[in-house]
């Protein structure tokens, strides 16, 4: 059952998510026709994730576009906690981020928060974590990001890049603010209290490096918004441009969870899954008949099928022609495996280059 109140924090997503409600509650704005048109003009086409409202809400994207139109450059920033394998849900915002890098020719700063992993996991293991950093970086780069315009920052390895900015940020945030935003309390450890500043620092890194304002755009799940609201307050005090965000919806999990989750392998299709496993997961997936929130349909809708015509066709086949779920699943298995095989082939080709990027 869906809960009435969604309890969304950056560390804990539970219950089905009402994205419209979240946007309203967080006070973000929905992507306007004007913004969508401008982005379409820049790209020369409309990206299916914008058209379908997968990316649907934002803060200050219009200002970033103004800056770009005036000849300025901006940077993209996103990241991940390197705690496990990447699944199809992770790829959704990355595919969109890659699209942004392509159109705007901008740099992507990608952060791996290994420090946070160490702080929140009892079973933290440095070797396992660095294994996932490398594996996850392969998944990102296999999507075709420009290696010359992509920078990985592994917090505990590249600390020097962030720390002085983090200190400046930390000086501007009081304990009471931290408690209010993240729900910290007396038992919170010193590391987790400081960590948010390390996650905020990359927003300002390109401004700091170039000595002039370089706005930063963060494609992120809307659950991360409390971070960026806090960051925006601090940015003003420090004289950096406020980071803009563009918020996406998350691909639900295979078993009906709010999102695919690495910690529940049965809910997700991982990029490393072999075809037989993909088939089993999809066969086991519940598919409510005639519903648009059918997971088979959503996989096409979020990631696999760019063409609206094809997506509409699938919908029609299901709702009008009463095509059987089994038939639909077979087709999906084939499509996912084709996607994954191509992805896995690209991963194999870029190992050396990704290793170099992580040095």
């Amino acid at each position: 059952m869906a809960k009435k109140t969604n309890n969304v924090t950056p560390w804990d997503i539970q219950g089905e998510i009402d994205y419209q409600d979240l946007a309203q509650r967080f006070g973000t704005r929905l992507l306007s026709e004007d913004i969508l048109e401008r982005m379409e003009k820049h790209a020369g086409r409309e990206h299916f994730m914008l058209r379908r409202g997968i990316f649907y809400s934002h803060r200050d994207v219009d200002e970033v576009l103004d800056h770009y139109d005036a000849g300025g450059q901006f940077a993209l920033y996103t990241g991940r906690g390197p705690s496990g394998p990447v699944h199809l849900g992770h790829l959704v915002p990355w595919v969109f981020t890659k699209h942004l890098q392509d159109i705007y020719g901008c740099k992507l700063v990608f952060q791996f928060t290994d420090d946070e992993k160490m702080l929140i996991r009892e079973d933290y293991d440095a070797e396992i974590t660095s294994h996932w950093v490398y594996e996850n970086a392969l998944d990102l780069m296999a999507l075709g990001f420009d290696p010359d315009k992509t920078e990985f920052i592994v917090d505990m390895k590249h600390t020097a890049k962030l720390f002085s900015i983090a200190l400046k940020v930390a000086k501007r945030i009081t304990w009471s603010t931290m408690r209010a935003v993240f729900g910290f309390n007396e038992d919170s450890n010193l590391g987790i209290i400081f960590f948010p500043t390390m996650q905020i620092a990359p927003c300002f890194i390109e401004s700091e490096r170039s000595g002039e304002p370089v706005p930063c755009l963060i494609p992120a799940g809307i659950d991360q918004d409390p971070y960026w609201r806090l960051t925006r307050d601090v940015a003003t005090k420090l004289g950096y441009p406020k980071p803009a965000q563009i918020h996406g919806r998350m691909l639900p999990g295979l078993t009906g969870n709010a999102k695919m989750s690495s910690s529940m392998p049965e809910t997700a299709i991982f990029t490393s899954d072999v075809p037989e496993l993909v088939e089993k997961k999809i066969q086991d997936m519940p598919t409510p008949e005639n519903r648009v929130d059918c997971l088979a349909y959503l996989l096409h809708y979020f990631l696999l099928t760019e063409s609206d015509e094809e997506v509409n066709e699938l919908h029609h086949e299901c709702t009008v022609n009463q095509r059987s779920c089994q038939e639909c699943k077979m087709e999906l298995v084939e499509k996912v495996n084709k996607f994954l095989l191509a992805h896995q082939r690209r991963r194999k080709l870029i190992g050396k280059s990704v290793k170099r990027m992580l040095e």
Binding site: T159, I173, N189, G191
Partner: protein
């Protein structure tokens, strides 16, 4: 002179004021009083007994006897001290550094020297991070001028050298809760989160050498007793993390040229800075607070009071190496046979001489600064 009532004694890492009652501090901090045995052991390994040991500068300790025993068993031992680079270095700061040099030589120990430029930046509204970092390198010159060995000295800025520190800092931070640092340091709602995190970075240095060398190395911290709260909470987590508890040897505060408290860089007139022009420093000495009487007649009759005299304190802690000469000076003063002017004048010329020499070493340190900075583990 009227006797002012004693101000209440306050000793925390940020505030030292009032008349210092060391017995009370030892009790309050739960540390062990210094023993003759420890002093003699140190002297034995050094080949001579340092002035500071002879004069009771080190009033208390924790596990210093254990640290020495480990060395005697043939195990490697290390030293850790540091400084918040908030301004120029004054003579009071040099005391523990001279002592570190003495211990470094005696125990063949590596010294990890932390410059907490992050903390200074986080605590002070009027200091930019860039300024704090610059002070780190200026102050490092003073540390080096104390005669430390480059191969065995690792000076680092918390900010510039964070990549050597952060991972271990995070490990330590995971073990320390907000309620612990609040109880120890008195943090509250309006404190910034950098200040709250900083203790982890100061604590982790106790384990840094062990971590870098891949084996447990006993660490001794020579520092003023006001830093003790850090080591108390470090000792609580050390064994859980698989390290030795850090040992400490606690110094008294060097009285300033003004009455009460330790020398303070934040009250410029109370201190002689290593960068003071030597003649100007000599003038400061001439203006110093002494234990003299209101009139010459009174002083001849009643004698001076070396026990409250800052000029005497300078002789005692730094500028009279010869014990017999010191005792002689004290007696002469108490008997009214020597007046403050005379005593100041002689100190002024010693200070001038000392500074002239120290500043030469300090300038020479610029050329070799790099050799003293922390390097990546090979």
């Amino acid at each position: 002179m009227t006797d002012e009532p004693n101000k209440e004694m306050v000793v925390t890492p940020w505030d030292v004021s009032g008349q210092i009652d060391y017995d009370k501090l030892i009790e309050q901090f739960g540390v062990s009083p210094m023993t003759k045995e420890i002093e003699e052991k140190i002297a034995e390994h050094a080949g001579f007994k340092h002035l500071q040991l002879r004069r009771g500068v080190y009033l208390s300790h924790r596990d210093t006897d254990w640290w020495i025993k480990e060395y005697e068993k043939g195990n490697k031992v290390g030293l850790y001290t540091g400084r918040g680079p908030s301004g120029h270095v004054h003579l009071g700061h040099l005391l523990p550094w001279f002592f570190c040099k003495y211990l470094q030589d005696a125990f063949d120990a590596d010294l990890y020297f932390q410059m907490t430029d992050d903390e200074k930046f986080l605590h002070r509204d009027d200091l930019t991070l860039e300024e704090a970092i610059e002070l780190t390198y200026e102050n490092a010159l003073d540390v080096i001028a104390c005669g430390l060995t480059p191969e065995k000295t690792h000076i680092f800025s918390d900010t510039d050298h964070i990549s050597h520190l952060y991972k271990l800092g995070v490990k330590v931070a995971k073990r320390v809760t907000f309620s612990t640092v609040r109880a120890v340091f008195g943090f509250n709602n309006s404190d910034n989160i950098g200040s709250i995190w900083h203790p982890a970075l100061q604590m982790m240095v106790c384990f840094l050498q062990s971590e870098r060398e891949g084996k447990n190395i006993p660490c001794l911290i020579p520092a003023a007793i006001d830093q003790d709260p850090y080591w108390r909470i470090t000792r609580d987590i050390a064994e859980k993390m698989g390290y030795y508890k850090p040992a400490q040897i606690h110094a008294k505060f060097l009285p300033g040229l003004a009455e009460g408290g330790k020398m303070s860089a934040s009250q410029p007139d109370t201190a002689i800075f290593t960068t003071d022009e030597p003649k100007k420093a000599a003038k400061k000495v001439m203006r110093a607070f002494t234990g003299g009487r209101d009139t010459v007649e009174e002083q001849r009759e009643k004698g001076g009071r070396p026990e409250v005299c800052n000029v005497y304190a300078y002789y005692y802690f730094l500028f009279e190496e010869n014990d017999a000469a010191l005792v002689e000076r004290e007696l002469m003063c108490k008997q009214g046979k020597i007046l403050c002017g005379e005593c100041k004048k002689e100190l002024a010329s010693r200070v001038e001489l000392f500074l002239t020499d120290f500043q030469k070493k300090r300038e020479a340190a610029r050329e070799v600064l790099d050799q003293f900075l922390i390097k990546p583990v090979e």
